[in-house]
């Protein structure tokens, strides 16, 4: 209990902790919402791929001194396009194309980062350090947060139908490929912000674990997105507390908290029906 009191006192005293908290909450909401689409579209692996594939973009932006978002977006979309091309133009299945493209991008990014900077920074990029978020990072996160909200609210209908019944959407003339790449672009933006809290390697967990938890507990896509955002925010805040108190890396702390919520939902969800199987 004393540590919680210290955490709350820390929040009122330290600017860096306030910035970390707000960043965690914003990233939590975004990743819960976008993660819901990722799992409903059966794209968990794609989410993992895009989040890893932004690494060279981050490195190049760092080396040349331009905005991280721009660098990451270019490489994120490039990876999504390449995966699309390899799948379409070869006999390979989609997951193979994803595996090849994202591991190559990640490897390239790893080398670029090693060339550019010290290992401390690389560690932060890989595993996140929410306690080191600067005010300008927070502004970037807030901008991405607005973009994500506007995107989802504006195109909710199109996101729903392309996730649920893509053939129907195509048949009535909706440009489903544009929807796909727009979602991939938004995903790369979320990835860049989530990089600060959980780091590149664990971003996929932020995208899919809270959304999967919500999936087990809800029956409608809109509810799922809200519940996913809530679980994601709680995990982020609890993870931040653990990181502050025990000096753990923020990424693993947040991801493990989210995994514990998932485990409870998995065991107790009526949809999953593990506990109540024999009684119903």
């Amino acid at each position: 209990m004393y540590s919680i009191q210290l955490f709350i006192e820390g929040l009122s005293n330290y600017n860096f902790l306030q910035t970390a908290l707000i960043t965690s909450i914003l990233v939590g909401i975004m990743s819960g919402i976008i993660g819901s689409f990722i799992i409903l579209r059966g794209m968990s692996l794609m989410g993992d791929a895009i989040s890893h594939a932004v690494l060279p973009g981050v490195a190049v932006a760092y080396m040349l001194g331009f905005n991280l978002l721009l660098g990451a977006s270019i490489f994120g979309i490039l990876a999504a396009l390449l995966i699309g091309v390899v799948t379409l133009k070869s006999k390979l299945k989609n997951d193979t194309a994803i595996g090849i493209v994202f591991s190559s991008f990640f490897a390239l990014g790893f080398i670029l980062i090693s060339l550019a900077e010290s290992t401390t920074n690389l560690h932060h990029i890989l595993f996140g350090n929410v306690l080191a978020v600067s005010d300008s990072d927070l502004i970037t996160t807030a901008i991405v947060f607005s973009i994500v909200l506007v995107f989802v609210v504006t195109f909710y209908k199109e996101l729903l139908i392309t996730s649920f019944d893509n053939t129907f959407a195509k048949a009535y003339g909706l440009k489903t490929q544009i929807m796909h790449y727009a979602l991939m672009l938004v995903l790369t933006l979320v990835t860049v912000t989530a990089l600060q809290t959980v780091g590149i390697i664990l971003i996929v967990a932020m995208l899919i674990t809270p959304a999967a938890t919500a999936y087990l507990l809800t029956n409608r896509m809109s509810h799922m997105m809200i519940v996913a955002a809530i679980f994601s925010v709680i995990s982020s805040v609890v993870g931040l507390y653990l990181s502050f108190t025990f000096n753990w890396a923020s990424g693993p702390a947040i991801v493990l908290t989210a995994a514990i919520f998932f485990a409870f939902a998995f065991i107790f969800s009526p949809k999953q029906n593990i506990i109540f199987k024999n009684k119903s």
């Binding site: 729903l160 053939t167 048949a171 909706l174 799922m224």
Partner: protein, 247 residues
């Protein structure tokens, strides 16, 4: 009316059809039959532009079909759908209003009223809040017919709608197809059960890697056509039964 001229579809470097031409008339229910692998669903997908055409033009009301896709309701085979998606019956039918709403508009009271009416037409009012994964095959098929009702399309295309569904659902769906026909719509049904061809369809297209025959059902559904598209054994069983029925 849908007109297909010289459509060629190639899949995996194998031509499925070469220069296929056919037309579908309004005020009629047209059945598409053919043996497995004949390309029935592929033909539909080619017409709708869901797969690439190597060649050919498809028009609807005299204009390219690509400009009028909103006026076509397509009910694909149920097996292709993710039934664990978190959506209920009402919201599924509501997606039928999306084509006419266009971008940036959201369904309002008017659209919701259409859904309520359509659910009552297919006798599913009491299932409105049910998850789609909890429905029987027949109920699910009726949900997609209800979605086609709210879309208010001129052309309705159903791919194998009667596979694995109960008799009552089949009868309910047929009743709605006939209503649509009497409203002047063009109805196209990919079908596999040869027994009901003469009672269900006004016109018939027999497909076997191309158009084997098409026209009024009475003219096309003959022993000769079935023998050449399917097999002699099948057609003798089929037409023997029919002769007995007539006696």
């Amino acid at each position: 009316m849908i007109k297909v001229r010289d459509m060629t579809v190639v899949y995996d470097r194998q031509p499925i059809f070469t220069n296929l031409s056919v037309q579908f008339e309004p005020n009629a229910i047209t059945g598409i039959i053919g043996p497995n692998g004949a390309g029935k669903s592929t033909m539909i997908k080619g017409i709708l532009g869901l797969i690439n055409k190597q060649n050919g033009i498809v028009t609807m009301h005299g204009k390219p079909i690509e400009q009028q896709l909103k006026k076509i309701a397509y009910v694909e085979q149920r097996a292709n759908l993710d039934l664990s998606f978190p959506i209920n019956v009402f919201d599924t039918v509501l997606t039928g209003t999306y084509p006419n709403l266009g971008l940036f508009n959201i369904p309002d009271i008017k659209e919701k009223k259409l859904v309520t009416k359509a659910l009552s037409d297919v006798k599913l009012s009491e299932f409105s809040q049910r998850q789609i994964g909890e429905l029987s095959g027949g109920q699910l098929q009726r949900v997609f017919v209800a979605r086609a009702i709210v879309q208010n399309a001129d052309v309705i295309i159903l791919d194998e709608p009667f596979v694995g569904i109960d008799m009552k659902s089949e009868a309910d769906i047929m009743r709605i197809l006939k209503q649509w026909r009497d409203m002047g719509k063009t109805i196209i049904v990919v079908h596999h059960d040869l027994n009901k061809v003469t009672t269900y369809f006004d016109k018939l297209v027999i497909v076997n890697r191309g158009i084997a025959a098409y026209g009024a059902t009475s003219a096309v559904f003959t022993k000769e056509n079935i023998t050449s598209a399917f097999s002699g054994d099948l057609s003798s069983i089929l037409f023997e039964n029919e002769e007995e029925n007539h006696v």
